[in-house]
């Protein structure tokens, strides 16, 4: 789960990482008030779950409370990378002498957290020269000892008080990674202002699997589409909207990906990724099908390899949805495995043909979508 910048900064402040004075507001009036409280020139930053806010015009400067209200009104009326701006962060404008980059994330291949630092901050890390980036893997049993933090500071060329502050900030970032179950703690830029460092941005991603033990962090889903939110509310295991016209359901992440690939290779456009999970039962499957319908697809394609998932459950769910709600588009089903015969029979009763062969079924789904036939 990605956190908004203001949430990240609240957590930073709680762990003792210096952040600019400021607060999140929802209206131009409150932005003016926040600017008045700060009493200095401010920056108005759109709060959306996307990078490149500056390039999109989502960051503006203001010298007075009136200007702050005006800037906030503008930012609050825009969208950044397709995401509507609902909140802005009003902060004191920093005196910037230099910009650093620092992050800690999890390197799955190395089975270890990794510190990534650079003396050249402010731009995307992937746009940086490898030679300018310092990477240090951590031992989970040692964590991030102070000497290692000091060594990272040295390697990016810091000296004196800046080196001391940097290693202190890095140690605190590791505490956040550890205690808040973060997958990513990133500060870009970490601003050098005189002889001090201050986190001008905060990117924090919390491990979805650990949200159950991080209840004090509010749930954020603003990077999800409406249908994705519906899917989540319906308890559908895993769903990503992709924008095509063939709605897809399969069971298992791998086979779902494989199904999307096949549809695309045959010239079709998948509307979504949906891993309906294993052993979901009739009711869960019926909900999943209603999510597929919510995308107004031209065709529905269901690919089931029955293991824990029973083919008759999927067939019954389809039959139920077809009877109760109607399914206005063609449904192509590929079904093999547990209780296959029963599943095929149930589908036949409601006029849906099932295939055993994945290739034939996928080609049929693509052909139907191209014809745009109604049922």
């Amino acid at each position: 789960m990605k956190c908004f910048e203001f949430m990240g900064k609240e957590i930073f402040a709680r762990f003792g990482i210096p952040v600019p004075r400021g607060r999140m507001v929802l209206t131009p009036e409150d932005a003016a008030q926040a600017a008045a409280e700060i009493g200095k020139p401010v920056v108005i930053k759109s709060q959306v779950l996307s990078g490149k806010r500056g390039k999109a015009g989502g960051i503006k400067f203001a010298d007075t409370p009136e200007e702050a209200a005006q800037a906030a009104a503008e930012v609050l009326s825009m969208t950044v990378q397709g995401l509507p701006v609902r909140r802005v962060l009003v902060e004191e404008k920093l005196k910037i002498d230099a910009e650093l980059y620092v992050a800690i994330t999890i390197d799955g291949a190395a089975k270890a957290p990794v510190v990534i630092a650079s003396a050249k901050g402010g731009m995307d890390i992937e746009e940086q020269d490898e030679a300018d980036i310092v990477k240090t893997h951590l031992d989970v049993f040692l964590g991030l000892p102070a000497f290692l933090a000091r060594d990272v500071a040295r390697k990016i060329g810091l000296r004196g008080n800046l080196a001391k502050e940097f290693s202190d900030i890095l140690s605190k970032m590791y505490c956040i990674l550890n205690h808040k179950d973060a997958e990513l703690v990133e500060i870009n830029p970490l601003v050098v202002s005189g002889d001090h460092l201050i986190a001008a941005d905060a990117k924090l991603t919390i491990d979805d699997s650990a949200l159950y033990r991080q209840k004090d962090i509010p749930f954020v889903d603003e990077d999800m589409t409406e249908v994705e939110k519906m899917a989540k509310a319906a308890g559908v295991g895993s769903f990503v909207e992709l924008g095509g016209d063939i709605a897809i359901m399969a069971n298992g992440a791998g086979i779902t990906m494989g199904t999307l690939d096949m549809i695309q290779l045959f010239g079709g456009r998948p509307a979504n990724f949906m891993d309906a999970g294993g052993g979901t039962g009739v009711e869960g499957t019926a909900k999943a099908i209603s999510i597929l319908l919510a995308q107004n697809p031209k065709v529905i394609f269901i690919n089931i390899f029955g293991g824990i998932t029973r083919c008759d459950d999927v067939a019954n769910a389809l039959a139920q949805v077809k009877r109760d709600m109607g399914i206005p588009v063609p449904v192509v089903v590929r079904m093999v495995g547990t209780n296959e015969e029963a599943g095929v029979r149930i589908l036949k009763e409601v006029g849906i043909d099932a295939y055993r062969d994945m290739k034939t079924a996928a080609q049929m789904a693509v052909a139907l979508a191209k014809r745009g036939e109604g049922a």
């Binding site: 999890i106 799955g108 989970v140 997958e183 990503v240 992709l242 992440a253 791998g254 293991g307 994945m358």
Partner: protein
């Protein structure tokens, strides 16, 4: 023969009396797995379907030689259960559970490395060798034979192994590495074992986008004497979107389908475009019709 475990292996199940544990215990036993003990805190001293229950893994190990353990334990308790098995000295530990926090996985896999235990999973169907299944792979999918299979995804494995079995090509061992970001074992770990297993004639690798496990595998495949057929899922996945598995995501331009195919092809592996092509390629390699 097989890798990691065989028909003579003694198997423990942690969480054997739970809903998932008890169901899959019966499936495992029907497969031929030698389940010798179960751990169920609070129920130690009793029998469950004829299998003795113990309070702790340590206690089970005091009464039996345990070669492998399978965890059917809720995510929040998996770290403790896995560490318990590692500290008791068990060398093959299969963790089926999904949604284990990454911080917990880091502790589990690094402790296992120190104690020289092999972790299969988390978030996996487990593994199967002839007469020894550890996990939830459907019994009908597996058949004994010359092909080693190692995969990141479960249902895709069922699909591919099922089609191999349908044309009469069996497997030495089928191993699921799991779909998480920090898997306990890698493709390379298993390819090394298949390379030295005398009965494995050819290896099928089922990968997906995200991470660099396939690229690492490619480096090792260059040194292998046995042919490798690969299938990779996620060609159509957009960057930055997590495709079901926590590990299946293209981040910062890394972990793309194209990069993996290129690495594997350059290493001499045959990469199938569709899952069903894997069978055709294996048939050709083995000289079967």
């Amino acid at each position: 023969m097989a890798i990691l475990v065989n028909a003579a292996s003694n198997v423990l199940i942690q969480g054997i009396t739970g809903k998932q544990g008890s169901f899959h215990f019966k499936q495992m036993r029907a497969f031929g797995t030698n389940v010798v003990a179960g751990v169920a805190p609070g129920k130690g001293g009793n029998l469950f379907e004829g299998v003795p229950l113990y309070e702790t893994v340590q206690e089970a190990c005091e009464h039996h030689r345990i070669d492998a353990t399978v965890l059917f334990i809720p995510a929040a308790f998996c770290k403790d259960a896995a560490l318990e098995a590692i500290e008791a000295g068990i060398k093959v530990i299969v963790i089926i559970t999904e949604h284990i926090p990454v911080q917990d996985e880091l502790i589990i896999v690094n402790r296992a490395k120190l104690k020289e235990a092999v972790i299969i999973g988390p978030n996996t169907f487990g593994m199967a060798s002839w007469k020894c299944k550890l996990g939830i792979l459907p019994n009908v999918a597996f058949s004994p034979g010359p092909v080693g299979v190692v995969a990141r995804s479960g249902t895709l494995t069922y699909e591919i192994v099922g089609s191999l079995t349908n044309v009469g090509i069996g497997q030495t061992s089928v191993v699921g590495l799991g779909g998480d970001r920090v898997p306990g074992s890698s493709f390379v770990d298993m390819l090394k074992r298949f390379e030295v297993d005398p009965d494995t004639k050819c290896v099928v690798l089922v990968g997906e986008i995200g991470g660099n496990a396939e690229e690492e595998a490619a480096e090792f495949i260059k040194t292998m004497s046995k042919p490798v057929v690969a299938y990779l899922a996620g060609k159509s996945a957009p960057p930055g979107k997590r495709m079901g598995h926590a590990g299946a995501i293209i981040e910062r331009g890394k972990g793309t389908y194209e990069g993996k195919v290129k690495a594997l092809t350059a290493a001499g592996a045959q990469v199938a475009t569709f899952p069903y092509e894997v069978v055709e390629k294996v048939q050709t390699l083995l000289g079967r019709p």
